[in-house]
Structures are given as structure tokens and as C-alpha cells.
């Protein structure tokens, strides 16, 4: 089996598995929507206030939803031993792991993009910043999956890895949050955001190339 064949086989397998267990797709999405609806209830529904903090709310909620969905990335494969088989295969583990992360993003990250415009309307964000919001989510959420995969690979062998996972992953999410939130904020004010978008692209490219290596190393450590 060639490497590209194996790569796409892993993606297809994970997508099929996810579609058989639809609750795993729905849960992070519902969490995302629920957290965002909590904010107007908690801080009061003044349109100006909401409009000002909408980019931050949407991005922080996306961050939390992405973190919540991380556990499903390796958990079931770790429990039933198929992860071990994958690492034993002749193909480089980092490439197969990248395939798993991509499949996971398609299932948990992409849906966030689809509901985000609706939530932006909820919070009264100006229409002209909607495109930038979607662009930052498109560039940022894959980074969340890639970085989160490092944390979850380190903790998948632990019985109670949940709390420690947030301590490991959230500090590393901060740059994405800063640049993405800032870009949407600037766009709402009608300012140019090229710099922030360029930085997000470079973060995405670096994470895409570098993150699979520690993930593979951490999984090998977690397996034995």
C-alpha cells in the first residue's frame, strides 16, 4: 500500500467512523452554540456591548469547543488497539497522524465555520466583518486541532487526562486567539487586516509541517 493510499484510507476510515457516531459531531457544535448564547444572558443584552466583544466571544467559544472535542481524536483507537497497529505499520507515523487530525478537523472544526455566521448575527456583528471571521476560523481551527493533537497524544494513556489537557493546550492556543480575535476586531472597525491574516497563515503552515512530529513521538510514548 503506497503512502498516499494509506493517508487517504485513514481519512476515509475516520470520516466513516464519525458519521456512524453522529453525536460526536453534534456535541462540540452544540457546546459552541450554547456557550455563545450564555454570554448575552450573563452580561446583559446591550447591542453595543455585544457587538464590541462578539469576535472575542466567538473565538474563545471556538477554542473551548475545539478543546472539548480533542478527546475523541485518539481515544477509541487507543482503547481498541487500532492506534498501536497504525504506529506499527511501515508508513511514517507522523503522516498517518496528520491524516487523523485532518479527518478530525473536517468533523469538528468545519461545522463551527458553518454555524459561525448565524452566531455572528446573534451577537449583532457588522456584516462586512463576517468574511474575515470565517477566514480566521478557516485558518485558525486547523491550528487548534494540530496543536491540540500534541496535548491529547501526551495524555491519551492517562486515566484522567481531561484537566491536565487544558493546562497543556490552552497556553499554546493563545497566539491563534490573539491574532484571530484582533483581525476580526479590526475588520469590524473597517481597518485592514492583512498582517494578522498573513501571520495566521504562517502559523497554520508551520503547525501543519511541525506538529505531526511531536504528536507521533508522544503517541509512541503513550502506547508503551
Amino acid at each position: 500500500m503506497s503512502l498516499s493510499h494509506a493517508f487517504f484510507a485513514v481519512i476515509r476510515r475516520d470520516l466513516v467512523l464519525a458519521l456512524r457516531r453522529r453525536s460526536e459531531i453534534a456535541n462540540p457544535l452544540l457546546f459552541f452554540i450554547l456557550v455563545i448564547t450564555l454570554f448575552p444572558l450573563g452580561i446583559g443584552a446591550q447591542p453595543h456591548l455585544l457587538q464590541a466583544i462578539a469576535p472575542g466571544i466567538i473565538w474563545v467559544s471556538a477554542l473551548l469547543a475545539a478543546m472539548l472535542s480533542l478527546d475523541s481524536l485518539f481515544r477509541s483507537d487507543f482503547d481498541d488497539g487500532s492506534l498501536e497497529q497504525m504506529l506499527l505499520s511501515p508508513h511514517p507515523a507522523s503522516v498517518l497522524v496528520l491524516a487523523k487530525i485532518i479527518a478530525h478537523w473536517l468533523v469538528t472544526g468545519l461545522p463551527l465555520l458553518i454555524v459561525a455566521p448565524l452566531l455572528a448575527v446573534f451577537l449583532g456583528m457588522p456584516n462586512h466583518s463576517l468574511g474575515i471571521l470565517l477566514l480566521t476560523l478557516l485558518l485558525g481551527t486547523p491550528v487548534l486541532s494540530l496543536i491540540g493533537a500534541i496535548g491529547v497524544a501526551l495524555t491519551v494513556g492517562l486515566r484522567r487526562g481531561g484537566m491536565i489537557l487544558s493546562l497543556l493546550v490552552l497556553p499554546l492556543y493563545v497566539p491563534v486567539l490573539i491574532f484571530a480575535g484582533n483581525a476580526v476586531q479590526m475588520a469590524s472597525g473597517g481597518l485592514p487586516v492583512d498582517a494578522q491574516i498573513n501571520i495566521l497563515i504562517s502559523i497554520l503552515l508551520m503547525a501543519l509541517v511541525l506538529a505531526p512530529l511531536p504528536v507521533a513521538a508522544a503517541l509512541k510514548m503513550s502506547i508503551n
Binding site: I164, L167, L170, P171, V174, M221
Partner: protein, 253 residues
């Protein structure tokens, strides 16, 4: 190995052996303590007594003799931890793993001290305890990285596995180090730019600079003392079933 002189190689090979490391650090420790005390006394005397008051900030600038060295140490120790962790990861050297994890609590303390002293100074000078400026935020994230390393090490029962996990995490966190270091140059922040490390001519008077450098070296020695003490304890814990530990205990009885 043709680049490194033979005695150096032999020294490091010997240091990788736990019994030798234990007895060597035991003999080294009093010297480290004496040098640390002398440097601290000289640095504090120079900084708090000899150095003139700042023409704008008065005496309150003197907190830099703690704040700046702590901040330097927070970055330096993280790099030591990551490098030692990387060495442990690649060559499986037990002592490199132990040095890496023993550095984490010391580094976290220095990071905490840097944040607290900065905040104490910021209240009278900037008029606020805390601002979300790039350097303060990235230093806070560094503290979280240290705490993540300590937490992850504690969460995994098998300490050899835990060391590998911690090393991977520390190496991933290294991306934060250049961000902290250059944050004051990349972003226009409230935190002032570097004054000491400008190579051609530091923009700090020499009577203030010398005590600061003395304190910086003294903090390095404090780190060595604290880290080695932790490493020795950790080593005994991990090697408690080894013959040399049993011999040592039976001899001391």
C-alpha cells in the same frame, strides 16, 4: 567527537553515571553555596547601597536587581529544561531527564518572582498592577507552560515515561521563548525595551550595570544549587533499588 577535547567528553560520560553524579555534586555543593552567597552579598550591596538613585524613579528602580535577573532566569531555565529534555529523549540519559524535570519548579518560581516584582514596580510607576502587554502576557504563558510541565510529570506514574512526555512538551513550548525575548522589540509595548543586551553600548550606567550582572550570575548559582539538590533527591528516589544507594544508606547507619 574530534571537535570536543577528550577530558570534556570523559567528564560528561562520568557525569551520566548516577553514583558518580551523586558524590560529585555532594563535593561541589559547598563551593556553589559560598560563591552564591558572596555574589549575592556583593550584588545587593552594590545595587542597594552603592548605585545612585535614578533621576526619575528614585529608589524604586532598585527592584530591577531582583526583577531583571529573575526574568532572564525564567527564559534561561526553560532553555536548559528543553535541551536537557531533548538529550534525554534522544540518548535516553537518565540524568538529563532528571535535570530537565528538576529545573521546572525552579524556573516556575523565577517566572513567578519576575511577574510579582514587575507588578509591584508597575503599580507606582505605570499606575496599574497589570497590563495585557505583549511581554507580560507571554511571561504569564511561560508560567503556564512550566505548570503544565510539572502537572504532566505528576500525572504519569511511570517516571521514565513521564520524563519523555515532559521533554516533548518542553520542546513544543520553546516556540514561546523567542516571542517573549523579542516581544518588546516587535510590539510597541508599555514594558520598556532592552537596555542591557544592546551589544555596542548598554543604555544603563555602569554603576547600575555591574550590580545587575553580579545578581544575574548569583541567580545562576542559586539555580544550580536548587536544581542539583532536587536532582539528587529525584535520583535517590528513582534509584532506590540500586546497589549503590543501598550501600550508601547502610554505610551511613
Amino acid at each position: 567527537m574530534f571537535l570536543i577535547p577528550d577530558p570534556v567528553v570523559r567528564f560528561f560520560h562520568r557525569m551520566a553515571s548516577p553514583p558518580h553524579f551523586y558524590s560529585f555534586t555532594e563535593r561541589l555543593m559547598p563551593w556553589l553555596v559560598v560563591i552564591f552567597l558572596l555574589l549575592t552579598a556583593a550584588g545587593l550591596y552594590g545595587g542597594l547601597y552603592l548605585a545612585p538613585a535614578d533621576y526619575q524613579q528614585g529608589d524604586s528602580y532598585r527592584i530591577i536587581y531582583i526583577h531583571v535577573p529573575s526574568a532572564w532566569m525564567s527564559l534561561f531555565i526553560y532553555m536548559v529544561m528543553a535541551v536537557a529534555g531533548g538529550i534525554g529523549l534522544v540518548w535516553r540519559i537518565k540524568l538529563a531527564e532528571i535535570v530537565a524535570i528538576s529545573s521546572a519548579p525552579v524556573g516556575a518560581s523565577f517566572t513567578f518572582i519576575a511577574l510579582v516584582t514587575g507588578s509591584l514596580w508597575g503599580k507606582p510607576m505605570w499606575g496599574t498592577w497589570w497590563v495585557w502587554d505583549a511581554r507580560l502576557t507571554s511571561e504569564l504563558i511561560l508560567l503556564f507552560l512550566y505548570l503544565g510541565v510539572i502537572g504532566l510529570y505528576g500525572a504519569i506514574d511511570d517516571k521514565r515515561t513521564a520524563s519523555r512526555a515532559v521533554a516533548i512538551l518542553a520542546l513544543v513550548g520553546v516556540v514561546n521563548i523567542p516571542i517573549i525575548h523579542y516581544s518588546v522589540e516587535w510590539w510597541n509595548t508599555l514594558h520598556q525595551g532592552p537596555t542591557v543586551t544592546k551589544m555596542d553600548k548598554p543604555s544603563i550606567h555602569v554603576s547600575m550595570l555591574i550590580p545587575l550582572l553580579l545578581m544575574a550570575i548569583s541567580f545562576k548559582f542559586y539555580y544550580l544549587i536548587a536544581m542539583l539538590q532536587r536532582a539528587r533527591t529525584e535520583l535517590l528516589l528513582r534509584e532506590r533499588n540500586a546497589q549503590w544507594v543501598k550501600n550508601m544508606i547502610s554505610e551511613s547507619k
